[in-house]
């Protein structure tokens, strides 16, 4: 009996090629590669680069859905190439760089905009109380950990930006991942930096640009549910607004 897991097939790939050093528009090129059923799209790309066209350019690192480097559009949907299994794609597989980002070369998207936004929202612990190493560690209960753990799973793969129609329309939008990460630190019992982050995210370019389409949560490979994070930020920012305008004596 043939083992279906190692069955081979010829897979047709349509890959968007673009080389800035050669004049011309990005265009789709067709390749056929021998693949195995248990391969992911990234395996097929690696085969192609190793055996057919070494100039093919794309980002990848871990091959295990942890590093967040190999995000690309696969049949028009933002996916991690290491998580998209060939067996789920019977026909020709169209592979393009992440939508809504400029193309650097072939499947490599320019991530500068996202990285600048990430920096703006201060996605790191701003300690509530300064402690020296001799004071011991910051302690946290399992319940306190649970408040933010889901949002800490983000791997910065930018699939949510490629899925978000609002980001496509308004590139200034800080976007799902950066706001979710700000929220992750805002909900951390050890953190005291919420006021600083709110200056960035409780703005028109921040959470208020979101219209709760929810595509970010559908494509997130780590089940962060950015749409939920943004809704929670909206509720908290609304409470802030009323406190700031009508009950300014109340501690937020």
């Amino acid at each position: 009996m043939m083992d279906v897991r190692v069955a081979e097939r010829q897979t047709d790939l349509e890959i968007l090629r673009y080389n800035p050093e050669i004049a011309g528009e990005p265009k789709l090129e067709r390749y056929t590669v021998p693949t195995k059923t248990e391969w992911c799209v990234l395996d097929a790309l690696n085969y192609l680069k190793d055996n057919v066209d070494p100039t093919l350019t794309y980002r990848w690192s871990c091959h295990m859905q942890v590093c967040g480097s190999c995000g690309m559009m696969i049949n028009g949907e933002p996916k991690l190439a290491c998580k998209a299994m060939l067996r789920d794609y019977p026909g020709v597989i169209r592979i393009e760089p992440l939508a809504h980002f400029p193309v650097e070369r072939d499947l490599v998207a320019v991530a500068d905009d996202f990285l600048a936004k990430l920096k703006r929202v201060k996605p790191y612990l701003i300690p509530l109380e300064k402690r020296l190493p001799e004071d011991g560690e910051y302690r946290q209960t399992p319940a306190q950990l649970k408040r933010y753990r889901q949002f800490a799973m983000c791997i910065n793969c930018m699939l949510c930006y490629a899925a978000c129609p609002e980001y496509g329309l308004h590139p200034k939008f800080i976007g799902p991942a950066a706001i979710s990460l700000a929220h992750r630190y805002n909900r951390d019992s050890r953190d005291g930096g919420r006021d600083e982050r709110q200056e960035e995210i409780a703005t028109a370019e921040g959470v208020w640009e979101c219209t709760f389409v929810g595509a970010c949560s559908e494509v997130c490979p780590k089940h962060v549910d950015p749409a939920a994070a943004l809704q929670q930020v909206k509720v908290a920012s609304t409470v802030d607004w009323y406190l700031e305008h009508f009950m300014s004596w109340v501690q937020k």
Binding site: P165, T203, A204, G206, W241, Y242
Partner: protein, 113 residues
């Protein structure tokens, strides 16, 4: 960048969304029951009329209907945008004015009870 004043609009929108999804189905169900002649106990015409005639009843009805109208106007505006109708200023003015006009009409109706 300054913090946004959007919470005023969004707070009412979110409250309206809750009203539409929680209260409206209950009202539809009760109305349907009444239509087939099975009025639930305590919800007879006379009792509902006296509820709507008091200032508290008027306030509750106004809040539910106003918030629902507001949230649906906002949702229609955003749906238009998502479907590619990008004249947002015009669309927003139109839907919010509709919701506003319906709210004024509601005040008249409640005032006459």
């Amino acid at each position: 960048m300054a913090k946004s004043n959007k919470p005023i609009i969004w707070g009412a929108f979110a409250a309206g969304g809750e009203a539409v999804s929680l209260v409206a189905p209950a009202i539809i169900l009760l109305t349907l029951l009444a239509a087939i002649g099975r009025v639930p106990p305590g919800l007879s015409y006379e009792q509902m009329h006296s509820f709507a005639a008091g200032w508290f009843g008027k306030l509750v009805l106004f809040a539910i209907v106003f918030l629902s109208l507001w949230s649906q106007a906002h949702r229609l505006r955003i749906t238009c945008f998502d479907f590619g109708l990008r004249a947002d200023g015009l669309v927003a003015t139109l839907f919010y004015m509709l919701a506003g006009a319906a709210s004024l009409w509601l005040i008249l109706i409640l005032g006459n009870i």
